[in-house]
């Protein structure tokens, strides 16, 4: 892989100065200097060099595999794959997704009939599980693993190595300072070492200089971030394969037990087995909803709370629990969420012969924030009309917890609580069509095979009822009583393994990212050489991963401290030596 092959190239080249010095000449000198500088910056990161080999090396399958692997794990390809990943996610936000909303997909297909064929071929309704999208992220993650492993090794190696020695010409480094002092070189270097060590630099003396390096946490953070990405991907994959998610509407006083047949709807991952459902059951004892009573916020829900009695296992001890909108109940690795709530008017139907043939709480679906609700009452069995013929009854129902008042016309609720509950029904008889075997929406009446009950004007028979009131169907077809009102709540039970791992990965990723972006990895060298005149020339230079304003500032602060230990020598009478010009800039 390119990382291991290329990155130490600086180090290899750093051996060339020996050869270069053998050859005399300015050009060779310049080259030697350039490579010494490259060595100074070598291994300051573990980033692979992006010049991936242009051609397959050697021939045969192995050569190609090697070439492909090098390409895949190069920074350039990582960049391209990342870009493709962001582009590839886009269609899924513009075209409805089966996974998110199957109804919208159906509507879209109707509207764009001519596109359906091609869209289906491209798996545009399942972008995030499509072959091409999976290919992008799998390649990216293979690339990532191929990148991370060698980088981690290299980093371990760097931790064991010592900071590289000072380059020959420190003044070529991005930040540089120099001064002359009367302190002997050895003493200056010793001070420099304690100073740098005190600032938690790793120091390494060699000859007339001290090399030091700091900020390894940057590399560690970067590696941790990329590894955390892999951990998160594994956690997601795990969660997808083993997850299950089901919804259930529970009436107050009724219960639910966690088996497949009890759910209203159920989704599962590929490896999920129905036996994986942890056994537990609960009953909904009470449901509280409080709403803002006044002010511009009137009607805003303040608090929803479901009080349940939970039994863990098949016959556990009953325990009282509470479930709120943003705080699910945790049971044996599953979470029970409170999703919605509403009213269920209790309705009884008496047949013409005086028998109560139906008595049930019928859940209605809320239509707005004030819980204007609609639904359907379906009497499937036991009804015989006054001629003794078996029929089914159906009622379209609207329910408002707070009615605006007679004459105010509309059946729109004014407030979500039961202040003035009114139920409106219109009545049909005939066949409900439930026996046709097709699944039916329980909240809607299919009137295609039903006849209207009609009032004295020949219009559809409609009545508004208060709790306790009874309406008599036309022509002695029986009576319907609005007995009272129950509440219901919907719950979603999800089992998603791996979410704890994903969260740990996410936290590690953020931490690693912060370390990687905010910490600078940098080297500082100090050289001190005592000349024949007994004056020591001190040079300091710094080099960082990227050009940053921080590095010169840090060098300046360090130089100031070292300068206190080794103050500037008085200006000699003669003009300063070539490297130093003293300028009274501010004077």
């Amino acid at each position: 892989m390119s990382t291991t092959d290329n990155a130490p190239s600086g180090a290899t080249r750093s051996e060339t100065p020996a050869e270069a010095e053998a050859e005399a000449g300015t050009e060779a000198d310049a080259r030697a200097e350039a490579s010494a500088e490259a060595a100074a910056g070598a291994q300051l990161s573990t980033a692979p060099l992006e010049d991936a080999p242009a051609d397959p090396v050697g021939i045969g399958v192995f050569g190609w595999v090697r070439w492909f692997w090098r390409q895949l794990t190069s920074m350039r390809v990582a960049l391209i794959l990342l870009f493709l990943l962001s582009l590839g996610s886009i269609p899924g936000s513009l075209i409805p997704q089966t996974q998110v909303d199957a109804l919208k997909v159906a509507a879209w297909k109707k509207e764009h009939a001519s596109w359906v064929g091609i869209a289906e071929k491209l798996q545009l309704f399942d972008v995030y599980s499509s072959v091409w999208f999976s290919a992008i992220y799998l390649l990216l993650f293979i690339s990532l693993i191929g990148c991370i492993l060698p980088r981690s090794w290299q980093f371990v190696g760097q931790l064991r190595d010592r900071p590289p020695g000072a380059p020959k010409r420190l003044d070529r480094m991005p930040a540089y300072a120099t001064w002359r002092t009367e302190k002997p070189a050895g003493e200056v270097l010793a001070h420099a070492r304690t100073l740098l060590g005190g600032r938690r630099f790793r120091t390494e003396p060699s000859g007339d200089s001290v090399a030091s390096e700091k900020g390894y946490l940057r590399e560690a953070g970067n590696l941790a971030f990329h590894i955390a990405l892999i951990v998160m991907l594994i956690a997601f994959a795990w969660g997808q394969l083993f997850k299950s998610e089901g919804g259930k509407l529970v009436l107050r006083g009724k219960g639910f037990s966690n088996t497949l047949t009890q759910y209203d709807d159920f989704k599962k991952g590929g490896f999920f087995e129905p036996d994986d459902l942890p056994p537990f059951s609960f009953t909904l004892d009470k449901f509280d909803a409080t709403f803002e009573e006044s002010g511009p916020q009137k009607g805003t829900p303040r608090d929803f709370k479901a009080y349940v009695t939970l039994r863990e296992g098949s016959d556990g001890k009953p325990q009282k629990r509470e479930i709120e909108v943003n705080t699910p109940m945790q049971v044996e690795g599953s979470k029970v969420y409170l999703l919605g709530h509403g009213y269920a008017p209790v309705i009884s139907v008496t047949s013409p012969d005086g028998k109560v043939i139906f008595k049930d709480a019928v859940p209605m679906l809320p239509q707005d924030a004030n819980l204007t609700s609609s639904g359907a009452v379906k009497v499937t069995d036991g009804y015989k009309n006054k001629d003794g013929k078996a029929e089914q009854l159906g009622f379209n129902a609207w329910f408002v917890p707070t009615y605006a008042g007679e004459g105010k016309g509309t059946m729109f609720s004014q407030f979500p609580e039961l202040k003035f509950p009114v139920l409106a029904l219109n009545a049909y008889h005939g066949s409900l069509g439930v026996d046709s075997g097709l699944p039916q929406n329980v909240y809607q009446l299919n009137t295609s095979k039903m006849e209207k009950f009609t009032d004295e004007n020949g219009e559809l028979f409609k009545r508004k009822l208060l709790p306790g009131e009874t309406m008599t169907l036309p022509d002695g077809a029986g009576t319907v009583k609005f007995e009272g009102i129950e509440r219901w709540a919907t719950f979603s039970v999800t089992h998603q393994p791996g979410s704890g791992l994903a969260l740990a990965g996410a936290i590690a990723a953020i931490g690693g990212l912060a370390a990687s972006l905010f910490i600078q990895r940098r080297r500082i060298w100090v050289r001190a050489v005592t000349g024949e005149d007994g004056v020591t020339v001190v040079e300091m230079a710094g080099l960082g991963r990227s050009e940053s304003a921080k590095l010169p500032e840090e060098l300046s602060a360090l130089a100031a401290e070292l300068h206190q230990q080794a103050p500037t020598a008085p200006v000699p009478d003669r003009p300063a030596k070539e490297t130093v010009e003293v300028e009274g800039e501010r004077g």
Binding site: A47, M75, A78, L79, L82, F83, L85, S86, S89, G92, S93, L94, Q99, V100, V127, D171, P174, A175, Y176, A177, W179, F236, E245, S294, G295, P296, Q297, T300, P301, V325, N326, T327, P328, Y337, L339, T494, Q496, S499, I507, I510, L513, A514, L517, E547, P552, L555, S556, A559, A560, P567, T568, A569, E578, T579, V582, E583, G584, E585, R586, G587
Partner: protein
């Protein structure tokens, strides 16, 4: 429902509206002051960039042969040093060009108008921030329930970040005119098309995650905006410098404006630092959103349009950071990526909220 309580709340909402309109008026004044700054500044005729480009070529030729010019800062000409002076060199391959003198172009009058503009911006910021607070008090919740409120907070934060950078003595005065112009645009859109009366929130929003997730999202957007502005100016300034380096002469207007901006290298670095600094926070925002979605909707990630575009934005910024670390992609290509990423952010805000609806569509207009 006491009539008095309603009156106070509507009163506060009204006060908030007045404050927002007043801040727009003051931003308008700041805008004119900035224009004056640029106009007066155009009188200075310093061809620093061209000079530096030719000088650095000459120096580059001489530099390898001659001794390096090393300066030691002295104190009043005596040899007692305060601290040794640090000389910096830019990395090989980048143009060694000094930053421009700023919009005022070193002219006294220009500088005066520039200072007036900044003072006005600061005043407008205070008024606008008060408007946001009044709005929050009128609705008795975090003022982030709909696009009108997002837009208000968005521009307040962007200006706040700019003023904070100024207070930290960073070289960002060049940003003033662009920022004030876009803030006016943002507020104009907010009050004309996005305005929503103080309204209630759906129950899923009743969570402390609203404070965490939405505030960091707005903050990231505002700061990414500043980064993107830097990237755009970098592209202009870079082609200006490239043109000069090739020995061509840019138009007079371009020269006058570009000459006063910081060097391409400084703008590039500025943009990078801003984007890199908020990227971890943006990561956090998405993670926080996922946790919240997990608690409120029973799933952490559902590829809802808002989630998709947050992800796209995140990956695009990750791409940008990679590009910066890859030598062949530094500079212009990286800047294009940064702008693409910011375009994704903007689309996620306007496009997704208005055109695509998903679970996040309560963020109504």
């Amino acid at each position: 429902m006491t009539p008095l309580a309603v009156a106070t709340d509507e009163h506060l909402a009204q006060i908030s509206n007045y404050l927002v309109y007043s801040s727009m008026a003051v931003y308008m004044l700041a805008f004119f002051a900035h224009i004056a700054e640029w106009i007066f500044g155009s009188r200075s005729k310093v061809g620093r960039t061209a000079a530096a480009l030719t000088a650095s070529k000459a120096a580059g030729a001489a530099g390898t042969a001659g001794a390096p010019a090393v300066q030691v800062r002295g104190k009043g000409g005596t040899a007692v040093l305060d601290r040794p002076k640090v000389v910096t060199r830019s990395a090989a391959g980048s143009r060694d060009v000094p930053d421009g003198p700023g919009a005022a172009g070193g002219t006294e009058q220009g500088d005066l108008y520039g200072r007036i503009a900044i003072s006005l911006t600061a005043l407008a910021f205070i008024i606008e921030a008060a408007g946001v607070v009044a709005r929050a008090m009128s609705v008795q919740r975090a003022p982030w329930g709909n696009m009108y409120e997002f837009s208000l907070t968005f521009s307040t934060v962007a200006v706040g970040a700019y003023l904070a950078l100024l207070a930290l003595k960073k070289n960002v005065r060049w940003l003033g005119l662009i920022l004030v112009t876009t803030v006016l645009l943002d507020l104009g859109i907010a009050v004309t098309w996005l305005y929503t009366d103080s309204d209630q929130l759906v129950p899923a929003l009743h969570s402390y995650w609203l404070w965490i997730h939405v505030s960091t999202a707005i903050f990231c957007g505002a700061v990414f905006y500043i980064g993107a502005a830097g990237a755009v100016l970098y592209l202009f300034r870079d082609s200006y410098e490239a043109r000069l380096a090739e020995g061509r002469t840019p138009g007079r207007f371009a020269a006058s404006v570009m000459e006063r901006l910081p060097s391409a290298a400084s703008l590039d670095k500025f943009s990078y630092r801003i984007n890199a600094a908020v990227f971890p926070l943006w990561t956090f925002t998405i993670v926080a959103g996922a946790i919240w979605a997990g608690d409120a909707w029973g799933r952490y990630w559902g590829w809802d349009p808002k989630e998709v575009w947050s992800f796209v934005t995140w990956v695009a910024y990750a791409c940008y950071l990679h590009a910066r670390a890859t030598a062949g992609w530094k500079g212009r290509k990286a800047a294009y990526l940064a702008l693409f990423a910011f375009a994704c952010w903007i689309w996620n805000y306007y496009g997704v909220n208005i055109l695509l609806n998903g679970k996040h569509s309560y963020a109504g207009i």
